[in-house]
């Protein structure tokens, strides 16, 4: 048996059945394109989220108001607030901290003479900049002096600047927060992220100014100032667990909680956040993958349909080829080459089409899709396998018939 010869036979047979060949290719193209596009979008979303979290800073630990849910834990449940004093205690007692920044944030009306919008206004300390991995684009950040003097100064994010000043230089201009005038002293460099809590939409003031003029009684509990949260950056990754443990001890002693009492705060590391976020995006990828798998299956069924429809004629063809002396392996080889050609052709076109769709999605800014090699490989091989199975199996069945039976097949 001569390989080139059989390839030639297969190509001749493909050409003799142009319509059927094209329909089979189309089925594979649709399946592969769907898989590549959907999986790329899933991958893109995953790495998007990861990048966003990582851009927040490194080795971060956040402490926030609110109970972490811990089933099975007994003990008294007491509601208590995160206090400014807690921040001072942590700063004093916990080692290995690179930067620590307490903050209080509240949704507040912010206006210029021409515009009024609601922003979450953050009262904090100078350390906020470094801990959150932010940079100042123009002007300066708040200083300790600003804080001690309760200066009415504000640093704004890029989006806020665009919103309120529409391209004018905001430095030295006045904005009103809750009808109190503030001078804009700096604008943060854009991080390219958007949404609630993003640096680009922040409005930052000294925390004491906030307590004194903006946040009001909401920020006071039992005569002491409260916090929305504390962000800590550890000196190194290795300290994170120790710091988290020590922070918990400090908080317990501050709030007079026993070891078995429910801690009213959530202490979490960036790593935990990353892993839970990537859990979410993995789930999403899995769903997209499932949809993609279904479309591949649909494509496969399309291929099967076309093969089955043509099986009558092809069975006669197989009968004839056997009658003129073709051994079974020559017939199988012919069909193998035929379906391989179709599967590879369909696979290549499908990969190109799917990548194109993913690129268009990215280009339109809908989602940043990532076309990766493993996605291409996965969709390509699965389509090839489906194509092979549905192409070869009926041919194999037919090649086992006696020539006369195959010739009479209806």
């Amino acid at each position: 048996m001569n390989v080139i010869n059989n390839v030639r036979v297969a190509i001749r047979a493909l050409r003799a059945n142009m319509l059927r060949s094209s329909l089979t290719v189309l089925g594979i193209v649709i399946g592969v394109a769907a898989v590549v596009a959907l999986l790329s979008i899933g991958r893109g979303a995953t790495s998007n989220i990861t990048e966003q979290v990582e851009s927040m800073g490194t080795n971060l630990i956040t402490i926030s108001q609110g109970r972490s849910f811990r089933p099975g834990m007994g003990g008294a449940s007491r509601s208590s607030s995160l206090m400014y004093k807690d921040y001072e205690a942590i700063q004093e007692k916990v080692e290995g901290i690179n930067g620590i920044s307490p903050y209080y944030s509240s949704q507040t009306q912010v206006s210029t003479t021409s515009r009024t919008t609601n922003y979450s206004v953050i009262g904090t300390l100078p350390a906020y900049l470094e801990v959150n991995n932010l940079e100042v684009e123009t002007g300066r950040f708040i200083t300790d002096t600003d804080n001690l003097e309760r200066s009415r100064v504000v640093v704004i994010g890029q989006d806020v600047s665009d919103d309120l000043f529409e391209g004018l230089n905001p430095l030295g201009r006045t904005i009103k927060i809750n009808n109190v005038s503030f001078e804009v002293i700096g604008v943060l460099a854009s991080k390219g992220t958007s949404g609630i809590g993003s640096a680009d939409s922040s409005v930052i003031i000294p925390i004491r100014t906030g307590y004194a003029r903006i946040f009001g009684s909401m920020a006071v509990y039992n005569g002491n100032y409260t916090l929305s949260g504390i962000t800590i950056s550890a000196e190194s990754k290795d300290f994170i667990d120790t710091i988290m443990y020590k922070v918990e001890l400090v908080l317990r002693s501050q709030h007079k909680l026993g070891l078995n009492d429910d801690l009213g705060f959530t202490i979490s590391s960036q790593e935990q956040m990353l892993s839970s976020l990537s859990d979410i995006s993995n789930t999403m990828s899995a769903y997209l993958g499932a949809i993609a798998g279904i479309s591949l299956l649909v494509g496969g069924i399309g291929i099967m349909n076309i093969t089955l429809v043509s099986v009558t004629e092809r069975t006669r063809e197989i009968g004839l080829r056997k009658a003129v002396g073709a051994p079974q392996k020559a017939i199988l080889f012919q069909f193998l080459v035929e379906t391989m050609t179709l599967a590879v052709l369909g696979g290549v076109i499908g990969v190109i089409l799917g990548s194109l769709i993913a690129t268009i999605f990215t280009y339109l800014d809908l989602i940043t899709a990532k076309v990766t090699f493993d996605v291409i490989l996965l969709s390509f091989t699965s389509s090839a396998l489906i194509g092979l199975f549905f192409g070869i199996y009926p041919a194999y069945q037919a090649s086992k018939l006696k020539p006369i039976e195959a010739l009479r097949y209806e």
């Binding site: 004629e313 002396g325 020539p403």
Partner: protein, 256 residues
Amino acid sequence: MIEVKNVTKIYKVGDSEVHALDGVSLKIRDGEMVAIMGPSGSGKSTLMAILGCLDTPTSGDYLIDDKDTSKMKEDQLAHLRAHKVGFVFQQFNLLPRTSALENVMLPLTYDGTKAKERVERAKKALELVGLSDRLHHHPNQLSGGQQQRVAIARALVNEPSILLADEPTGNLDSKNGDEIMAIFQQLHREKHQTVVYVTHDMFIARHTERIIFLMDGKIVRDEAVKNPIKAGTKRPDEVLVNGNHNNNHKIIEVLQ
């Protein structure tokens, strides 16, 4: 030599059985030219399929050159079909959407002929059956008679030592039928090929040396032709006037 020993072929259709062949035994020597006749449904095509190794008998043996085909593996049978046997089907069985030339080349694909040689030989075979001007026509662009001649060319192309033809002249007028007979007689005479064909036409049948009559799956008569007709001989007027088919039945009745 080919030898059929007490062969039966039973088709099961639902609950009933059709005995298409019912204890057929016969020997055909190398280089013999034989016609098989018999009414429709008597089992001629069934017998031809077994002779061509396209089908296997329900019981009995079929030997080619003293080798029992029932003991052969599928690949050995394929080898026989590729090298030893040429077959003309009653229904032509040409590949659709494929040119006459490529149809005729098909057997050469599987018998080890070199690619270059195939085209030449296929062209020669088509020339022999008078279709040099239809090389690139697809079957649906050919008349019934032309399709039949493509099928004959395909059976001839690998110069099989046994040529089996199931009603090779059924769709041809007397002139074309005569040309086919000339080809068959030439192969028989010059290349000593064994030629076996089925026909309903006594005049065509008498171009051979021996006629076998089948009836209800049994051989009812097997006799030598005294003066084989030479291809090119004019058909006697009465046969032409009466038409082939009716006449055959008369002949068969007479023979019985």
